[in-house]
């Protein structure tokens, strides 16, 4: 019964954040698609002659990278301040605090799914898909867990350490450039490659590209690394959140 109530609350909060995000804007729902498409066009025209020339199927390669990165950036960015923004709620009601975070990440996840569906339409018309595509839902689940863990961590620690927002803004920018979204890293041992061995977003994006764009099996170590990192992110993020949760109402 209690369980079901929380699910209902998560559903309602997710609907609310969806509606809130695009309510009143003229193009409304289309911003979901417009944002990644515009980023894509921008990067495509800049890099197709510079960096992407030697990458097979560069357009799909780039688009998928942008979509996957967008998810993380939207989930982390919008969940980070969610406890702070809802201070009045936290101070006057005792609902499960986790529901706020889960619903925001769910909102980002659903936006991601919508973008991916468009991607699939393009994909089917431009390359041959293979049965490896069946592995993709599993990647999505771990992608969700990864972002959720990060969101739990950022949203709770921010209340105690306000500098985190500035740190995160910087870190996420560096992270975006270090992740091969619009370029590729080859496995010679340069600095970027070594960094990316520890970069969950690299493993996520590379595995997704293998499966979808190139229709081949993902690098098994890369896939396992991502799964492991997602589980660590989720477990660590949630533990931190749970530890700090009782003090939320006193900190805002």
């Amino acid at each position: 019964m209690k369980y079901k109530k929380n699910i209902d609350l998560i559903v309602q909060l997710t609907i609310t954040s969806f509606k809130q995000r695009y309510e009143g804007s003229f193009l409304g729902f289309f911003w979901y698609l417009l944002n990644p498409v515009l980023t894509f066009l921008f990067l495509y025209f800049i890099f197709v002659n510079l960096l992407g020339s030697n990458i097979e199927n560069y357009a799909l390669y780039l688009l998928l990278g942008i979509i996957q990165w967008n998810f993380l950036s939207l989930a982390a960015g919008s969940s980070m301040k969610i406890i702070m923004v809802n201070s009045l709620l936290i101070k006057s009601l005792s609902f499960k605090r986790e529901t706020l975070i889960i619903s925001i990440v769910l909102m980002a996840f659903l936006s991601n799914i919508i973008e991916l569906m468009i991607f699939f339409v393009i994909l089917i018309f431009s390359v041959e898909t293979s049965f490896w595509i069946l592995l993709f839902p599993m990647i999505l689940i771990f992608q969700f867990l990864f972002a959720l863990g990060l969101a739990f961590f950022l949203s709770s620690v921010l209340l105690f350490f306000r500098d985190l927002e500035n740190i995160w803004n910087f870190v996420s920018k560096v992270w975006w450039f270090a992740t091969p979204v619009f370029y590729s890293v080859s496995s010679n041992s340069n600095f970027i490659y070594l960094f990316n061995l520890f970069n969950p977003m690299y493993h996520l994006i590379e595995s997704s590209r293998s499966i979808l764009v190139y229709g081949k099996s993902p690098d098994i170590y890369s896939l396992l690394a991502f799964i492991l990192m997602s589980l660590i992110s989720f477990a660590f993020g949630y533990l931190v959140f749970r530890h700090l949760k009782p003090k939320f109402a006193e900190m805002i």
């Binding site: 109530k5 909060l13 809130q20 309510e23 101070k91 006057s92 009601l93 005792s94 109402a249």
Partner: protein, 240 residues
């Protein structure tokens, strides 16, 4: 329905004015050993109540009344002592809770209802009754930023009442709407009490408390000074 509060104490950590370096702050954060000044907001509070009564809580500003309600509601955790509640607790600590101005009243009713712990189905079943009670039938799909503050308060009160609270915590939010609606809400609270609901009412409006409460809890500097009949209010007035 019953509520028992046993030896509840609560301290707040107040950040000291002393300049501390960022490094020692970070170390302090991770080791829980930052220099802190503590302030006891609640000191060993105990009381209990069974079926159907209104308990008025009086005390000066900063004496810990709101903190007590928040501890009972589970918003703050107490440092020691326990709160045993048998029934559904609904806190009405602020009447502007969770409303999102850019969404319609319909969306807001669903959101707030869920935040209060209702199921979506329950809200669907009670929807027209909530709207009707708040006397806002004509505005179901109006965005909330066009509501007056009185209308929002009526809506919040109506949602809270429809949650069927067993224990209702009210903090200074008795200025709901106009005189007529205020009377209506008082009647509603009486009806709830007659059905067994326990109401904890924090207010500085002593006449209101005298008129409606069966029992008064007097809190001063975090301690429960007295627990008794409404006659306490006179003693309190004399002291103030």
């Amino acid at each position: 329905m019953s509520i028992t509060v046993k030896h509840v104490s609560k301290k707040f950590v107040i950040s000291s004015n002393r300049k501390i370096s960022a490094l020692s702050q970070i170390i302090g954060f991770f080791t829980d050993r930052a220099p802190k000044r503590q302030f006891e907001v609640l000191k060993d509070i105990s009381f209990s109540s069974n079926n159907g009564e209104i308990l008025g809580i009086i005390g000066k500003n900063g004496s810990g009344k709101s903190t007590l309600l928040r501890v009972i509601a589970g918003i703050y955790t107490s440092d020691s002592g326990i709160v045993e509640a048998n029934g559904k607790i609904i806190p009405l600590i602020s009447l502007n809770l969770g409303f999102i101005d850019r969404l319609s009243m319909r969306d807001n009713i669903y959101l707030c209802g869920c935040l209060f712990g209702m199921m979506r189905q329950e809200i669907r079943d009670n929807f027209s009754s909530i709207v009707k009670y708040a006397e806002l039938d004509d505005f179901v799909d109006t965005k909330l930023y066009q509501f007056s503050s009185g209308m929002k308060q009526r809506l919040a009160f109506s949602i809270a009442v429809h949650c069927r609270p067993d224990i209702l915590l009210i903090d200074e939010v008795f200025e709901i709407g106009d005189e007529r609606f205020r009377e209506k809400s008082k009647k509603e609270l009486k009806k709830l009490v007659s059905k067994g609901t326990i109401i904890l009412l924090v207010s500085h409006d002593l006449d209101l408390l005298k008129k409606h409460c069966g029992r008064i809890l007097w809190i001063d500097q975090g301690s429960l000074v007295a627990d008794g009949k409404t006659g306490l209010i006179n003693t309190y007035k004399k002291q103030a």
